[in-house]
Each structure stands twice: as C-alpha cells, then as structure tokens.
C-alpha cells in the first residue's frame, strides 16, 4: 500500500506526518528535538528510511541528526555510544563540524563577502539550511549552509568537506547577506547527470556545476533586480528558491525576491513569468510531479510585511509554465489570515494524483491530494514552519 511521509521542520522541533495513499487520515509524531530550530529534514530517494535533519540553536550551534529507520530513532552520525570510529577508540564528534577551506597558497581565508556596511567580511559558519541526499551514492549528502557554501559528506553525515570551488571561483566578494542571512538554501541534483548540481544563494544568485561540484559558474543572466546597483549584475540577486521537475532537468523555475522566472536551458538564461500574479514576491515555488509545466507559488506581500495579501491564503497555480496563474483557495482561509510560507516549506508527492504540501509561519501544514484544487490542514497549531519535505512510500 502506498503512502506518504511529510517531514516538517519548525522553530521548535521536527514533526513527521504520515498517511496512506488516500491522504485523508494522518498520524503526527513529534516534536523530535524539542526546542531546537529544525531548518530542514529530508529523506534519501535511495533509502527512504534514511532521513537527515539539520538541528540548530543560537545557544548550542549546529547538530546533524540521521535516522535509518524512517524517523523512529535518531543518531548524530559518528557519535552513537559504542560506535568506534577514531584511531583512539572514541567516536569522533565531527558530524556538526563545518570548517571552511582556506587558500592553499596563503593558508588564509579563501575569500571574503560584502557586509551590510559595504566592507568585506570573512565567512563565518552559522547553520545548515538545506540537506540534499545524493541520488546515486547512498552515503553521500550535500549541505547548503550559512554563511553561504556547499559542503558534502560521503560517510552518511559523519564528516563534512567544503566544495570550495563555489566560494573560490571569484565572485565571493560581491555576495552579501539578505535579511535572513547569507544562506545557501537550494540544492538541486540532476537525476540524469550526476555531475550537474544547481544551488542558489541569498543574496548572490543561482550557480551551476557540471563537474560534480568542483567548479561553478553563476547562472543569473536575465535576472533583473532593482535593489542592487547594477540590476543585471552577474551576481548579487536575492534568489529565494528554485525548483525542477526531475523528468525535465534542464527546465528550472525560480521565485526571486521579486519576479517569478523560468529557464529552459539549465539556467543559462531566464525569462520572467510572473504574469497576472497579485504580487511577484514570495518564497516557495514547486513543480507538479507529473505535469512539468504546472507550477505553484504562494504570493507574499512585499517588502516588510511578509504575509499573504488581503488576509487571504492563496496558492497560485500555472498550468502553462508561468504567466497565466489561477488562485487556489478551496479549503484555505480567505479572511484574517496573515501568515508567511518560507522558501523550503512546499513540497509535492509523486502519487498518481499529485499531492501538494506547504507549511506556514502560523504552524499550519496544508495538504492537497488533488493537485491543488482543494486543501485541508493536516495540523493547525505547530510552531512556525521552516521546511516541508515529502516522501512517497511504496
């Protein structure tokens, strides 16, 4: 019997919501890691029982958790009692150790980035925003972090090493933190080409590697951002999220700070498809599992309010790959609603009737089992939702 497992990261813990394929009745487990901010939780496509979690705290820093039984039990990779991993017999405590590479020539910081006052500032690790398990290697997982960089673990999260070609390719001094920090929040792996990786950074833009993460290039041609000195600069754009349908890995959809964009050439160029949206500001964007031209966004009122316009929670769907959008409202609050939907808080399942899921800053997680035509809350009163991912289980 097929089913779904929804992984929800919130400001005060992780929650796991499970249902059968009908998606009508839900079991809720959690909070896992109560009291900690869970920026992201994601399962492996190679082994659905393997789930990685980014657990963070302003007090205690970063922790990585891993489950190998679908979220029933958790370990910090490399540190469970009794597991001997280091020469001295003690397990290592490296699963939360994210150390940036330094210059091979000078031994000093690889690069600096632009600070809020325009001066240059060294990279400082804050937290992991996004975990992306490999599509081909069972023990490989990528981590997008703040300050923006991409790390990779090849041992199931026990140790992490930076793919420093991203920071080191030359544009780093022009990157700058957005309001949420300078974060690498999106990691997309090409299912047809294991060497191709897309990432996105706020506020730097989108980047692509065609050699497994060794070298990178900015892919921001066509983006137009009025809030930076050169609106069409190579880097500096505040990209909020990027989405891809696995069946068409060269087609990307982007929710930028303002503007919804699409690329039909793997990011080499972008065109705006905001069309008739009530506002082209927002955070999430996702693609229907079976209809690669059907996309979803949640418009948000810019720039300081950051809640849905007019007190109405509306998902907008385009069945034409952008430009023509319809509001989806059935089952969603249409008065006195002032929530936000953050960048990693929407996901789709791959059941025959595609399910769409999103979580709000008000702690609701909504699900649609009919591709967005109608919605129901799975839970209404969680802590503010930071991320939502879905696993389709067979």
């Amino acid at each position: 019997m097929s089913g779904v497992r929804v992984l929800v990261g919130t400001r005060k813990g992780a929650f796991i919501l499970t249902s059968d394929g009908k998606r009508e009745k839900w079991d809720v487990s959690g909070p896992h890691f109560a009291g900690w901010e869970i920026y992201h939780a994601k399962g492996s496509q190679l082994d659905p029982n393997r789930i990685y979690v980014s657990q963070t705290s302003g007090w205690f820093g970063q922790v990585i958790q891993r489950s190998d039984d679908g979220g029933k039990t958790w370990i910090q990779p490399g540190t469970p009692p009794g597991e001997q991993t280091a020469p001295g017999g003690m397990p290592k405590g490296d699963s939360n150790k994210f150390v940036y590479d330094v210059s091979a020539e000078t031994g000093k910081s690889l690069t600096t980035h632009q600070w809020y006052d325009g001066t240059q500032h060294p990279w400082e690790f804050k937290r992991v925003w996004h975990l992306e398990p490999s599509l081909t290697e069972p023990d490989t997982v990528y981590a997008g972090v703040e300050d923006a960089a991409l790390f990779r673990s090849k041992d199931g999260g026990k140790s992490w090493h930076e793919l420093s070609g991203l920071r080191g390719h030359g544009t780093g001094p022009k990157w700058q933190p957005g309001a949420g920090g300078m974060c690498l929040h999106t990691v997309i792996l090409d299912p047809r080409d294991p060497k191709r990786i897309y990432i996105a950074i706020s506020a730097a833009g989108a980047f692509r590697s065609d050699d497994g993460g060794e070298t990178w290039k900015p892919i921001n041609k066509g983006l137009h951002s009025l809030y930076i000195p050169d609106p069409t600069a190579e880097v500096g754009h505040c990209v909020h999220h990027v989405a891809m349908n696995p069946s068409r890995p060269g087609v990307l959809f982007m929710q930028k700070h303002w503007d919804v964009m699409r690329s039909d050439n793997a990011g080499d160029s972008w065109t705006e498809v905001s069309g008739n949206l009530p506002t082209d500001f927002g955070f999430v964007i996702d693609v229907h599992a079976h209809e690669p031209e059907t996309i979803y966004v949640v418009p948000i009122k810019s720039d300081s309010e950051h809640y849905v316009p007019d007190g109405k929670l509306r998902v907008y769907r385009s069945k034409s790959g952008g430009n023509e959008w319809e509001a989806l409202t059935k089952g969603l609050p249409q008065e006195n609603c002032f929530v936000n939907v953050l960048r990693d808080a929407m996901a789709v399942d791959s059941l025959d009737e595609c399910g769409i899921y999103f979580g709000t800053s008000g702690g609701q997680v909504y699900a649609s089992s009919d591709a967005g035509d109608s919605w129901n809350p799975i839970v209404r009163d969680l802590p503010g939702v930071l991320s939502v991912e879905v696993q389709t289980l067979s």
Binding site: G58, W59, G61, V63, P91, G93, D94, N96, V99
Partner: protein
Amino acid sequence: MIRVMLPSHLRNLAKVGYEVELEVSGEVTQRSILNALEARYPMLQGTIRDHVTQVRRPFLRFFACGEDLSHESPDAPVPDAVISGAEPFLVVGAIAGG
C-alpha cells in the same frame, strides 16, 4: 572527580543525567574539563565552544562556586572546591530571547 552540570538540551544530546562526573588529568582548568567532557561525550564537540577556535559560544556561560568564570582564562585553574568535587562546574545557557 570533577562534577559538571549541563543545560537540558546538552544533557539530551549526550543522553546523560543532571550531572556528569569526569576524571581530569593534569591541571584542572576550564579547558581540561571541557576536553575531558568532549572526549567522553563527542557529540558535545562544537556545542559549547567552537570546533576550531575553541572559543566559548556566546550564549553559554561557565559558573562555579557562585562565580561567573566565563571571562577567566580557559587555562586558569578552577576553584579548589571544583577540583575536590565539593562543587560542580556549571555550563549554563543564557536566558535570552524575551
């Protein structure tokens, strides 16, 4: 035997009770206590002090015998009462956020 008290989130990570007891070799300082703590509970590495710089995380404090030792040198000896085990060494999470 050195007694160390941890905040609840770190007790949960290390799967320990309210207080842990540690053998600390050599001079008993903040650094040697934390080294011994992290050697026995590696999952605490990086949660109390930075992995690389070994600097105390900003929202954590170290107390003992009613005194705030947070700004003492990490290599200064801790009070005798901590060394004798009469008093615990406390790792305290700052009350912050509202």
